[in-house]
């Protein structure tokens, strides 16, 4: 390498370390986080506990709150399970086989990120509602999808589809197929290969994506709001219940229930960084 080039690189890195710019950038990002994230979240927590523990406990143990929490948990469990299964299948299909329409599948998986949640809700209403084309079939079999729990679950699945697949695809691509091919050559079947060769590699990516998917599923508001019908104690999820409480002038209760969601997300995010750290350690060990 000619010496002149080394000098240039050195100059550039010195320019990047200009202390003024460095400090300004740090201040800007910290201020932004403070104003946009930390302060509003602190307000939720202080408001929630502002009227004392007794008030908080009463709001959180209210029948409608408990029912909303149950529905939210049920929805989250089903949505996360469905998307884990689908995400793994889709990631496998996209990285292990070659076929026509592959890029279309990738685009479709990303669609929920790009589409507004209200569209996600409306398409379910238009398909499974009373005026939808499936209505006579559903009516004949006494099935109820929208304005009932199934619609809420489906809307939630729709908005959380990309989480698992998107996380797994790059890991599978980076790993390549060498080890799997070796396993197959040695006589391992599909499931054996998957559980003993593939899964250990994508384990942490999978856990990580399930955590993010859970966080998103619990908090989904827009799409669920469209298909819910807002029947109290029946089709209200926790986020919808918070809106109702707020609209009913029950501000303290609204904040108390919000605090459940905020605390859950903090727990979820802590779990995420723990997973990240463990995964990194494992990667380092395997490299060594």
């Amino acid at each position: 390498m000619p010496p002149s080039q080394t000098v240039k690189i050195g100059a550039e890195s010195r320019r990047q370390e200009n202390p003024f710019i460095k400090n300004a950038l740090i201040v800007i990002s910290l201020l932004f986080t403070l104003l946009m994230l930390v302060m509003p979240l602190l307000v939720v927590v202080t408001q929630a506990f502002g009227a004392g523990w007794a008030n908080f406990a009463r709001a959180v143990t209210d029948t409608f709150t408990v029912k909303a929490l149950q529905l939210t948990l049920l929805t989250t469990v089903i949505a996360v399970a469905a998307n884990t299964l689908f995400g793994l299948t889709a990631a496998w299909c996209l990285t292990r086989y070659r076929y026509r329409g592959q890029s279309l599948l990738i685009t479709m998986i990303d669609l929920p990120f790009a589409v507004s949640p209200i569209i996600a809700g409306l398409i379910f209403i238009l398909t499974y509602g009373r005026l939808g084309w499936t209505h006579s079939f559903l009516e004949a079999h006494n099935l109820k999808i929208v304005f009932a729990a199934p619609g809420i679950v489906m809307a939630t699945i729709f908005v959380t589809i990309p989480f698992v697949a998107r996380e797994i695809i790059p890991v599978l691509t980076a790993r390549g197929t060498d080890e799997e091919q070796a396993a197959v050559l040695m006589g391992a079947g599909f499931f054996r290969t998957f559980f003993y060769v593939t899964l250990p590699h994508i384990r942490w990516a999978l856990v990580y994506s399930v955590i993010l998917c859970t966080a998103r599923a619990m908090g989904e508001f827009g799409a669920v709001s469209v298909v819910s019908g807002h029947l109290r104690g029946k089709t209200n999820t926790l986020p919808l219940h918070i809106e109702i409480l707020y609209n009913e002038h029950h501000y303290r209760e609204a904040f108390a229930v919000s605090a459940i969601l905020v605390i859950t997300s903090i727990v979820i995010l802590t779990a995420r960084s723990v997973v990240e750290r463990i995964a990194k350690k494992e990667v380092n060990q395997s490299v060594r």
């Binding site: 149950q70 469990v77 209403i125 109820k144």
Partner: protein, 334 residues
């Protein structure tokens, strides 16, 4: 470990589903509009007691609230309400036109199927700093007006029509002038929420605007929630809002709840039902019972009805003002 948490969660979830479906009480779903939450909370308790005493049956009433037109839409799309208790007749007519309610529903119960009525008043900040006393003041420069969107909210349509009626009289039927007046009012609107309760929160909780065009009951509720911060201004003329109620025939027949639903609506006209309406600042339709509440209701207020030739009934008013490309679309072009 994650697997274990997962199974634990699924078991709890499944259990709750089973416990939720195991109960076999009579159930009634009331799809209503925004400001009636507190009214029906109280009324449901009274009705449950009445039903238990007369029929020895337990009944659960499931409530749903939102903007009136939006709620009607959800019933049309398959939200299986036994009864609808909405802000205006046209929204129930929409459900009728979808084939879910039989024709002539409005004649089935007394007083155009409206057990209680209300009107539109102004909620202003303490001391009325902008001196807003009549409809004309809403068009003044520098007055911030809060009202929901007439396209989605029942209350907002009453607000709009009350202003229109005032303008028509003020400018002696000169429609160009009335239009200019209405346009000025809506130019003054700071936030156009989709439902009445959203607007109340914008004005009361978030402190936006100088005047909230509100249901009389909603205005009194805000006074009760935040004593000493607001005042109610009753303009010399306003509009008689008749929020009607109806049974959704298709759904009650499907679920076999016709008798329960009929009684639920009829009981709204009983002395107890009427008093509950009055206590929640709705004007009882029973002329004797409204007299018990004169400290809230100005009985001398001049009220124009929707069927007045000026407005020509809901169908005409809806078509002229709120249909796509109607008067409201033309004046509200921000």
């Amino acid at each position: 470990m994650f697997k274990r948490i997962f199974t634990m969660l699924s078991v709890t979830a499944l259990l709750t589903v089973f416990t939720a479906t195991a109960r076999a009480d009579q159930e009634l779903t009331n799809v209503s509009y925004d400001p009636t939450r507190e009214l029906y909370e109280a009324y449901n308790t009274a009705f449950q007691k009445y039903w238990q005493e007369t029929k020895k049956e337990k009944v659960t009433v499931v409530q749903s609230h939102g903007g009136s037109a939006k709620q009607a839409r959800s019933v049309i799309e398959g939200n299986e309400a036994d009864v609808v208790t909405l802000a205006l007749a046209i929204d129930i007519t929409a459900v009728e036109e979808a084939g879910l309610i039989q024709k002539g529903w409005q004649k089935k119960l007394p007083n155009n199927s409206s057990p209680y009525t209300s009107t539109i008043v102004f909620l202003v900040r303490k001391g009325n700093p902008k001196k807003i006393i009549d409809w004309g003041d809403l068009a003044r420069e520098g007055v911030g007006v809060i009202t929901p969107n007439p396209k989605t909210s029942g209350g907002a349509r009453w607000n709009y029509l009350a202003a229109w009626a005032w303008g028509d009289k003020e400018y002696s039927h000169d429609e160009t002038k009335v239009l200019a007046y209405i346009k000025k009012v809506f130019d003054n609107v700071l936030v156009l929420d989709s439902g009445a309760r959203g607007s109340t929160n914008t004005f009361v909780q978030n402190g936006q605007g100088d005047v909230l065009l509100a249901w009389e009951n909603e205005a009194y509720l805000s006074l009760a929630e935040r004593p000493g911060e607001f005042e109610i201004v009753t303009p010399p003329t306003s509009i008689l809002a008749e929020p009607p109620v109806a049974i959704v025939d298709t759904y009650v027949d499907k679920k076999g709840t016709r008798e329960l639903a009929t009684e639920y609506l009829k009981y709204l006209y009983s002395d107890e039902g009427q008093r509950i309406a009055g206590q929640h600042y709705y004007r009882p339709s029973n002329p004797e019972i409204i007299k018990e509440f004169t400290k809230y209701f100005d009985l001398n207020l001049k009220l124009i009805t929707i069927d007045d030739p000026l407005l020509g009934g809901w169908e005409t008013a809806q078509k002229k003002h709120f249909s796509d490309g109607g008067v409201f679309d033309r004046i509200y072009t921000k």
